[in-house]
Symmetry: C2
Subunit: 152 residues, 2 copies
DNA sequence: GACGATTATTAGCCTTGTCTAATATTTGGC
DNA sequence: GCCAAATATTAGACAAGGCTAATAATCGTC
């Protein structure tokens, strides 16, 4: 053990290696990263199911910009984590947990996107930045974004 | 440098796997992630040098919330990429490239942070969210953030 | 129903980034 | 100057996420 200090940072997750307040922020970002891919996948799967009635790996691969084997590996992890169900050579379905996560993500994405557009950004840049930002905004920030986007 | 996207248009440069416009956004996010750790490190190293006169691995580890061996491995990569110089058992120095990147990151961080504060966020949440957001805002968005933060 | 094209999966490799445990070096107190 | 403590590094494991190449299954068309 290297650090056995004081002061767990208030907002953070479950891990203990504080010793510096900023460390909490960095750990939070790393934590967010671990969930990011899963969130993007379930969000995309929900969209595909809505738009086409099913989510096939080949379409996920095209939309995500990765190869089918990468999709397969990630889908295995999502299934292991209880977010999707799948059968070999069949398309993908969301579990209740997956669907809830997808809706949550869509909500956040929508707020961030509307906020950026309201700020005056062009549609393409807004979409691009929203994709990166949406996983890193707290509920508090999201509330402020929503208020700004909806103000008259 | 890393973020130079004044052009929103087509997924730049040399990659071949378009087929969907959204794919570009996801690839951009993955690209950003590859640089994120390097950016956080050089920014932190610059801060440590400014505050204490030198950047020691043990302090970097404490601030980043990781163990010293993780720091060592990352520092090797930063040295390989020409952002820092180091000698065994000595503290770390930024190259010109590293210093330039650090300044760029500090500028972005500062703008995002001031923007969030101006929006009405508390200091702690603002710092936390800025840490996550700063790597994912385009120059265009940053310009809008700066304008909002500085408006009278 | 068979066959070629499409799609999905498997196998295997690479890189990052995290960790612990063990070792090496430097530093500071005496 | 010596020795213990602090610090740095190395070694080695593991998980994630990306890829290519090869194989397997399904689908569409005849």
């Amino acid at each position: 053990m290297v650090h056995d200090d004081l002061q767990p940072s208030p907002p953070a997750a479950s891990d203990e290696r504080p010793s510096d307040p900023r460390a909490g922020a960095f750990q939070g970002v790393r934590e967010a990263h671990r969930n990011e891919l899963a969130e993007d996948y379930v969000e995309l799967i929900a969209e595909l199911i809505h738009a086409r009635g099913e989510a096939r790996p080949v379409d996920i691969a095209a939309k995500m910009g990765v190869t089918p084997p990468s999709v397969a590996k990630t889908l295995d992890r999502l299934a292991r984590d209880g977010l999707i169900t799948r059968a070999r050579y069949r398309s993908v379905f969301l579990t209740d947990a997956g669907r809830a996560l997808a809706e949550e993500c869509q909500r956040r994405h929508d707020i961030v996107l509307r906020f950026l557009l309201r700020l005056g950004l062009d549609a393409e840049t807004a979409e691009h930045d929203a994709e990166g930002i949406e996983h890193h905004v707290s509920e508090r920030t999201l509330a402020l974004f929503a208020a700004f986007a909806d103000r008259s």
